[in-house]
C-alpha cells in the first residue's frame, strides 16, 4: 500500500517539473509576441518588423518578460522561505509587512534624492533592502517577545508593521514637494513596464545572491519545518540560519520592490500550490516554486497588458484578484491543517 503511494509521489514531482519547464519555455517564447500589437514568430525571425516594432519587441517586450520571470521567481522563493521558517502558508514577505518596509526604504531614498550606487546597485534597491530587513526584524522580534509563538501574533504583528510603514510612507509623501511626490507615487504604482535591460541587470545579482543562499539551506528548511526545537536538536544553528535567510529574502524582496513596486500574492500561491502537489521536501520544492513563480507572474503580466489593450492593468491588480480569494481559502483551512 505504501509503495505505490510513494511511487505516485515521484510521478507527481516529475509531471510537475515537466509541466513547469514546458510552460517556462512557452511563456518565454510567446509572452513577448503578445501585446497591444501582436507579432508572429516568423515576423521576428525573418526581420520583417519595422524599426519601431523591432524597438518595441527587443527594448520593451523582451526585457519586461525577463523582469517578470526574475521577479516572479524571487517572490516565490522568498515566500516559500517565509512559509517554511514560520511553518505557516499565510506567512509571506507581503503579509508580514516586509514588502511595506521595502517600499518605505525605497521611497525614502527617492524623497532624499539619493542617486548613489554601490557595486552598481542603485540607491532605491539598497534602501528597499534595508527597509525589508528592518521590517522583518520588527515582526520577528515582536513574535519572539511573546511566549508561545502563535500564528495570530505573527500575522497581527505583520499587519501592524505593514500599517506602520505605510503611514510613515504617507507622511513622507505629505512632506514632499510636487516633483518628489510624483516620483514616489509613480514608483508605488509599480509594474513591470521597463525600457531596456538595465533594471533586469540590476535586479539579477540581488536575486542571484539571495536565491543561492536559500538553495544552500534547503536541508535546514526541511528541519525548521519540523519545529525549532527538533531542528536545533538535530544540529541546526537556528538563530544563524534564520538570520541568513532573513538577509537573503530581504535582498530578493528589496530588489523586486525597488524595481517593480509591491506585487502581492505570487509569493504565497506559488510555493503553496507546489507544496500541495509534491510535498514539503525543499530539495524539490525550492526549484518547483521558483519556476511556478516565474511562469505565474509572466502569465499574469501578459494578461494585464493585453486584456483591455490598448490600456493596461497594473499586474498587482491581477495577482491580487487571484491571490485574495486564495488567501481567504487558505485562512479557512489552515487552522485545521496546521493545528
Amino acid at each position: 500500500m505504501a509503495g505505490p503511494e510513494k511511487r505516485r509521489g515521484h510521478g507527481t514531482a516529475a509531471a510537475l517539473f515537466g509541466a513547469l519547464l514546458v510552460s517556462l519555455v512557452l511563456s518565454m517564447l510567446l509572452a513577448p509576441l503578445a501585446g497591444m500589437k501582436g507579432y508572429s514568430p516568423s515576423d521576428v525571425l525573418s526581420g520583417a518588423l519595422s524599426a519601431a516594432d523591432e524597438g518595441i519587441f527587443w527594448k520593451v517586450r523582451v526585457p519586461r518578460v525577463l523582469l517578470s520571470l526574475v521577479a516572479g521567481a524571487a517572490l516565490a522563493l522568498s515566500g516559500m522561505t517565509f512559509q517554511s521558517m514560520f511553518r505557516n502558508p499565510l506567512a509571506t514577505p507581503y503579509t508580514l509587512g516586509v514588502a511595506s518596509g521595502g517600499s518605505f526604504g525605497a521611497a525614502l531614498t527617492l524623497k532624499l534624492g539619493l542617486v548613489f550606487s554601490v557595486f552598481g546597485l542603485p540607491a532605491t534597491s539598497i534602501g528597499a533592502f534595508l527597509g525589508c530587513l528592518l521590517a522583518v526584524t520588527l515582526v520577528y522580534g515582536v513574535t519572539k517577545l511573546k511566549q508561545g509563538f502563535s500564528t495570530a501574533t505573527m500575522l497581527l504583528a505583520g499587519v501592524a508593521v505593514g500599517f506602520l510603514f505605510s503611514s510613515v510612507l504617507m507622511f513622507l509623501q505629505y512632506m514632499s514637494d510636487f516633483a518628489e511626490t510624483f516620483r514616489i507615487v509613480r514608483w508605488l504604482m509599480g509594474g513591470l513596464d521597463i525600457v531596456g535591460y538595465r533594471q533586469v541587470l540590476e535586479l539579477l545579482p540581488l536575486v542571484g545572491v539571495g536565491g543561492i543562499a536559500v538553495v544552500l539551506h534547503v536541508r535546514e528548511l526541511n528541519l525548521l519545518v519540523t519545529g525549532d526545537d527538533l531542528a536545533a536538536g538535530r544540529g541546526v544553528d537556528v538563530a544563524t540560519v534564520r538570520r541568513r535567510l532573513f538577509f537573503a529574502t530581504s535582498l530578493m524582496v528589496g530588489g523586486v520592490v525597488a524595481t517593480c513596486g509591491p506585487i502581492g500574492f505570487v509569493g504565497m500561491m506559488s510555493p503553496h500550490i507546489c507544496r500541495m502537489l509534491i510535498g514539503s521536501d525543499h530539495r524539490l520544492l525550492a526549484p518547483a516554486a521558483t519556476l511556478l513563480g516565474a511562469v505565474f507572474l509572466t502569465v499574469c503580466d501578459t494578461v494585464a497588458r493585453t486584456i483591455i489593450a490598448p490600456a493596461e492593468i497594473p499586474v498587482g491588480v491581477i495577482t491580487a484578484l487571484l491571490g485574495g480569494p486564495f488567501f481567504l481559502w487558505l485562512l479557512t483551512r489552515s487552522d485545521a491543517e496546521r493545528g
Binding site: R87, T226, G235
Partner: protein
C-alpha cells in the same frame, strides 16, 4: 547495575535558567553517568522540561555550567552536540509533512557537510534505526498520519539515526495507550541495555520511573528535591514531599515497590 554504568558523561553544575524575570531553574546540579537511565520527575512547572532542554543547549543558561564529555557545552558547535545528544520532544500534534523514512534520515543532519549528498552510511544508519525501533512498516507513510505511539517510536528512531549516545526524552509515554506505553518503555530499556544509550526521561508516570529507570531525579520549584536510586524513591518521605501528596505503595512479586492507583471508594462528588 554498576557494571553497565560508566564515567560521568553529562554534568550540570549550579545551573539557573530564567524566562524573563521568572527563575525556572535555581542552582540545579546533576551528574549523569554514561549508560545510565535517569527518570526526571516532579510536579507540573517544576522545571523538568527546561532542564532537559538546557542539557541539550537548546536554552540559554543564566548561570552555572553544563559539561558534556568533560567539556563546556557552550564550547561545542550545534552539530557536535547533535552527534552526541538527541532531544526527543513529545510526539505532539505538530505538522510533519514528510514520509517517515525521510524524517528519520533528517536525523543524519549533523553528520553531513553542507553540500554533500546523503551517503550509503546515512541510509544504513536510518534503516538500522527503523529496524531496531520497529518502525520499518510505516516508512513510506506521512509522519503526521501516524498514531501517537507510532510517532513516538519514530522520533526515537530519528534520534538513534542521529547517532546520539544520550537521549533526552520529554514525556515519551504520556499520551499513549497502555500497549504503546509498554512498547516504548521496552524499546528504551533495550536501547539502554544493548547499545549502552544513556537515557534521561521526563515522566509523570512514577511507576515507570521506579520500575524502568536506575536513578530518579526529583525536581520541585526549579531545584533538585531528591536524587538517588530509583528503588529508594518509592517512599512517602521522598515522593510525598516532592508532590505534596500521600501515596500508597505495594510490593511486586520481585520485591520492587510501586505506587497504587487511587480513587474509587474514597472518592466523593468533586
Amino acid at each position: 547495575m554498576g557494571v553497565k554504568v560508566g564515567p560521568p558523561i553529562l554534568e550540570v553544575r549550579h545551573v539557573a535558567v530564567r524566562f524573563g524575570r521568572k527563575e525556572v531553574l535555581r542552582g540545579v546540579s546533576v551528574t549523569v553517568k554514561a549508560g545510565s537511565h535517569v527518570a526526571i520527575i516532579g510536579p507540573n512547572g517544576a522545571g523538568k522540561s527546561t532542564l532537559l532542554k538546557a542539557m541539550d543547549g537548546l536554552l540559554p543558561v543564566a548561570s552555572g555550567e553544563i559539561l558534556l564529555g568533560g567539556r563546556l557545552l557552550s564550547a561545542w558547535s550545534r552539530k557536535e552536540v547533535a552527534r552526541k545528544v538527541a532531544y526527543v520532544p513529545q510526539a505532539d500534534g505538530r505538522v510533519l509533512p514528510f514520509p517517515a523514512r525521510d524524517f528519520v534520515l533528517m536525523g543524519r543532519y549533523p553528520h553531513l557537510s553542507p553540500l554533500s549528498a546523503i551517503r550509503r552510511q546515512d541510509r544504513d544508519a536510518a534503516d538500522d534505526a527503523m529496524r531496531v525501533t520497529g518502525t520499518v512498516q510505516f516508512a513510506d507513510r506521512r509522519v503526521d498520519t501516524l498514531s501517537g505511539g507510532e510517532r513516538q517510536k519514530l522520533f526515537i528512531a530519528a534520534a538513534i539515526a542521529q547517532g546520539a549516545e544520550i537521549l533526552l526524552l520529554d514525556e515519551p509515554t504520556t499520551f499513549l495507550d497502555p500497549r504503546h506505553q509498554a512498547d516504548v518503555l521496552a524499546l528504551l530499556a533495550r536501547l539502554n541495555r544493548d547499545r549502552g544509550v544513556t537515557l534521561l526521561t521526563v515522566t509523570h508516570d512514577i511507576n515507570a520511573a521506579a520500575l524502568w529507570a536506575d536513578e530518579v531525579l526529583a525536581l520541585k520549584d526549579g531545584a533538585v528535591a531528591w536524587s538517588g536510586r530509583a528503588a529508594d524513591a518509592m517512599d512517602n518521605r521522598v515522593l510525598g514531599a516532592v508532590f505534596d501528596h500521600e501515596f500508597s505503595f505495594a510490593t511486586r512479586d520481585d520485591g520492587r515497590r510501586f505506587v497504587l492507583p487511587e480513587g474509587g471508594a474514597q472518592r466523593d462528588g468533586g
